[in-house]
Structures are given as C-alpha cells and as structure tokens.
Amino acid sequence: MNQPVLGLFPHVDSMVEAAVGLKDTGYTVTVFSPIPLGDALDPIVVRKNYIRYFALFGAFIGLFFGIILTLGTAALYVLPRGGLPIWPITPTLLLTYESIILFGVIWTLIGFFIVARKPNFGKQIYDPKVAIDSFGLLVEDIREDKIEEVEQLLKSFGADEVNRVEKS
C-alpha cells in the first residue's frame, strides 16, 4: 500500500534535517514551503536548469521570425521608396531584437508550464498551512508496516503535525 504521510514543521532547519534523514533511508520526499528555500535545499535535491534551453530556443525562434518578417516579406511585397534599399538593415535589426525578446519570454513561460507541469487542476496532495507558515515534508512510497516508523521519525525531528494524507 502507498500511504503518503505529510509532516508540518515550524522551522526550516528541522524540516531539512528530517528530509535528509528520510532520503538517506530510501524514501521519496517532497518539500512544501511558503517561500522559496533556494540553497537551503541543496542537501536534499540539486536540480538542473532546463528553463535556459527553452529561453534559448525562444530567442532563436524570435531571431528567425524577425528576419523572415522584415526581410522575407519585404521581398514578397516590394515597396519602392525612391532609391532606398528594399531590404533595410536598421529596421530589420530593431524588429528582430524585439522579436527575440518576445519569443524568449513566451518560450520561457511555456518551458515553465512544461517542466513544472502547470496548470494542474487535478487531485493533488496539499495542505493550505504550507502557504502560510508551515514547512511540509511529504513522504511517499512507504510500506504499510513502516508508516508509524516514518511518523515517529517526523515527530522526532520536530514536526508539529503529522497526517496521513490523500489527494484532494
């Protein structure tokens, strides 16, 4: 049986210690917090930054879009302007600059949606206290005979509350 357990801690350091202890024992842990904990979570998990690939991809798309929009369509719709070049350099650079940024921003947003799996309106394990002043530690993949042991462990590290939770 897979019965997740959620411990709510009032302090960051006690929650991190509990997470390290549980992780070393082989459990999968998820941290919930009302603020970004940044480097404080390094002992638990170090993540790569995939967002940069999306940002770079968006910037390249923007580069091609800007060039095609200005130079490409200028070739398609020739607009003679008294001896001025059909393919003007300055506007091409300007509009390409803007479209690089626009597509970079849009693809960064798309990247966030993909890697963070948002939006997600389905059933999820969540306790509103973690949006206020509690730091949650969710332990999953616990064997039935180990649930009480995990609960005791969480309490011993200083959890205020330990609950058996389900997706809601």
Binding site: Y77, L94, S99, G104, P119, V130
Partner: protein, 443 residues
C-alpha cells in the same frame, strides 16, 4: 520587519483585497465617472466631428496626445524595469513595492497605447499597422519608426503582463486558500494548481530570472524607440542623437516618482505602513536624486550642443522653448521641479518625510509631462521656413482628454488593489527570513 509573522502577512494582504470601505467605492466611482466624462465623451465627440476640434494644424500635426503617449510610456518604466533590475541585483527593499510598481507599468502602457488611438483620428484604421497577408498587396512600411513602436510596445506590454502574472502565482494560491464565494474559483484557476513544492519554487525562480534578464534590455529599447519617433526626423529640436538615453533616463525618473506618489496613497489607504516603510521612501528618493542629476546633465548637454552648433533653426528652437511665450514659463517650471526640487533629497531627513516625498514626486511628474509636451509643442511650430511658423495651443477638448487619462489610470489601479495581491506575500516573508530553531535567518 522583525515583528511581523508569516501568518500576519497572509492576513494583511488578503485583507487589502477583501475588506472594502465606502471611501474606496466613492474613489472608484469618482475616478470611473471622471474618466468617462473627461476622456471617453470628448474622445467620442472628436471621433464624430473629426480632428478639427483639436488644436492640431499646420505645421503641428503632433500635439498633446503624443506628449501624453510618451509621458505614460515613461511612467511604465517604473515598474517592470525597476523590478527587474532590483531583482537581478538582489536588492531586498524591492520586495514590498515591486508588485504594485509592475501593475503601474501595465496600466500606464495601456493608457499610452490608447492615446495612439486617440491621436489617430480614425482609430478603426489601426489594423493598417498590422502586418498580415492581404489581397490588396499592401504591406506595412518597416522603415517607419511608428512601426518600430508597434512592435516595441506590444512586446513590452506582453512581457510586462507575463512578468506581473508569473511573479504573482504563489500569492494567488495563498489568496485561493483564504477566500470564499466567487473569488475561490477565480483564484483557483489563476494559481494554476500551485502547491509550493520545492520543484515548483525551483522552476519559478529560474524562469523569473530569465524574464528579468529579457525585460531589462527590452525596457531600454522601448523608450529608445519611442525617442526615435522624434529623433529620426529632420526637425530642429527633435533631431538629436542624445534623445534615446534622454528618454530612458526621463522615463525611469518619472516612473520612480510615480511609484513614490502612489505608494504614499496606497500605504495610507490600505493601512500597510509596516510593509512599505520610510526606508523604502529613503531608497526611492535616493534613486530620484540620481536620476534628477542625470536628467539635468542631459538637458545641459542638449541645450549646450544646440547653442554651440549655432545654426539658425536650432537657435530659434532653443530661443522659442526657453525665452518666448507661450511656452517659456513651462520650461523654467520644468527646471525647477526636475532639477532643483529633487536636490532636497540630498538630506536624509527630507527623504524620509512623507510630505516632502509627495510634493517633490508630484512636482517631478508635472515637470516630466511638461518636458514631453515641450518636445512636441516647441519643435514642430518652428521648422526651417519662418512663413510656416505657427504656435500650437491645445484645445479644451485635448486638455480634457489629458486630465481624463489620469482618472482612467487611477481607476485601473483602484481595481487592481482589490483583485490582485498588491504586496508580494512570499517575498515579504523572504524579507522576514527563514524561521529556524534559533530565530529568523535572513538570506
């Protein structure tokens, strides 16, 4: 913020959204009514009758509407650019004020964009500036600086909205957990199912950093491009290479002053003095002082280089702007409000005086509006041929539309503070620090 608890932050911010007194409704109805009466109705009349009701005439076909456009774009530089720069440089005092400042950006860009429609005369022809495939074989002229504007401003508006919304997702989730009724489903959808897991925070902070990095050069480019609407022309008084930095500096200057004015009103009305403290005004006023000095330097350079060039057209433009009726008094008023009054901020005691902050910040925005007005109204009436010279005086209708735009902006901001967490909950908590066994630890 040593005496504030995490719980208190949630309660206070949600309270600003859910508890509404009668004074709020009076202010909102007043602003909405005046926006319609002073802006909507005159604009409708102008569309019906035509541009003849304005003061625009040969040789001045750009008037107060475009001055307003530049002014509001300038105000927009307060929020997103300032927020992005302060985020990248990890400046802690940003946290309490940036959300409202970013909202100022969005609303002022919106107001500015509407002024383009007002100026056009025939707003229904706006689609002519959009590149789309047409059987008429017509295509937009990308060499026109007006087209640069279309792309720059639409990019800036899109990016600013994404930046504002994205940074608010955790707070929208916090609001979702505390509200009932119609608000519950709205904030449930807006928060995208946010739970505050370590993975979500990680991706949010990485993405937010990229947004900030993209937005800083974007904001600089937007006001540079707005300046090129003028500087790429051949008109004396407009054809200046210094216009791009001049506009960018002026925009940050006026935008920061707008933040100061609005934050004073906001903290008082919403009773959030413990989050927006005198320290914030101290820092903002220091920034105003720096921008004032930069702005003054660029003004001196502009006047000096024009005078030193000693061409008849340039000399006449300067003489007309600085010494002749009907605009010279505005020029010297601008110097007073933008170069002299901000010098008061040399003294810390005055930087932390709310009264002085309000007077000087309003003064700066009056001066910055005058600056934009003078750029248009003293250059176009004095071009190369004296027989074409003609003063531009805005009509009452144009002045009414201008005044109305301020009420429109105020109305949008009043709506914002009731539908959006206007102080960042999670970043204020970061300011308080991590709760550890031995007390709070700031990072």
């Amino acid at each position: 913020m040593d005496n504030i608890s995490y719980k208190e932050v949630n309660e206070d911010v949600v309270r600003t959204m859910t508890k509404t007194g009668w004074k709020y409704w009076v202010a909102l109805i007043l602003c909405a009514g005046l926006a319609v009466a002073l802006w909507g109705v005159p604009w409708g009349y102008q569309i019906y009758v035509g541009q003849g009701v304005t003061g625009l005439n040969t040789p001045t076909f750009w008037g107060i509407y475009l001055a307003n456009f530049v002014f509001w774009i300038g105000i927009s530089h307060s929020g997103t650019l300032l927020s992005a720069i302060l985020f990248i440089t990890a400046t802690p005092w940003r946290r309490s004020i940036y959300r409202s400042a970013e909202a100022i950006t969005f609303f002022s860009v919106l107001t500015a964009a509407i002024f383009i429609f007002v100026h056009m005369g025939r707003p229904w022809n706006f689609y002519w500036t959009m590149p789309y495939f047409t059987t008429r074989q017509l295509w937009v002229n990308f060499t026109s600086p007006i087209m640069f504007d279309v792309f720059a401003i639409s990019t800036y508006m899109t990016s600013s909205v994404i930046f504002l919304y994205f940074g608010s997702i955790p707070d929208l989730a916090a609001v979702r957990d505390r509200v009932t009724g119609w608000r519950k489903p709205v904030y449930t959808y807006l928060s995208l199912g946010w739970r505050g897991t370590d993975a979500e925070w990680h991706w949010l902070s990485k993405s937010y950093t990229f947004f900030a990095v993209f937005i800083i050069p974007l904001a600089v480019s937007v006001h540079s491009i707005v300046s090129w609407d003028f500087a790429l022309s051949m008109v004396p008084g407009l054809n200046k290479t210094i216009f791009a930095p001049y506009f960018v500096v002026g925009a940050i200057f006026s935008g920061t002053a707008a933040i100061v004015t609005l934050m004073v009103c906001f903290r008082k009305a919403m009773k959030v003095e413990k989050y927006i403290t005198l320290m914030h005004f101290d820092k903002l006023c220091m920034l105003l002082l720096v921008m004032s000095l930069l702005w003054s330097y660029i003004n001196v350079v502009e006047v000096f280089s024009g005078w030193f060039a000693n061409t008849s057209a340039e000399n006449e433009t300067l003489r007309y702007r600085m010494f002749l009726a009907p605009h010279s008094y505005m020029f010297w008023l601008m110097i007073l409000t933008n170069s002299i009054l901000p010098l008061l901020f040399i003294f810390r005691r005055l930087r932390t005086s709310i009264f002085v902050c309000v007077v000087v910040s309003i003064g700066i925005n009056v001066g910055m509006w005058i600056e934009r007005y003078l750029i248009v109204a003293t250059s176009l009436p004095r071009k190369f041929l004296p027989n074409m010279w003609h003063d531009y005086i805005p009509s009452l209708l144009e002045i009414s539309v201008t005044v109305g735009s301020f009420f429109f902006f105020a109305m949008l901001f009043l709506i914002f503070v009731k539908v959006w967490p206007s102080i960042s909950i999670y970043e204020v908590k970061e300011d308080i620090g991590f709760p550890m066994r031995k007390g709070f630890k700031r990072h």
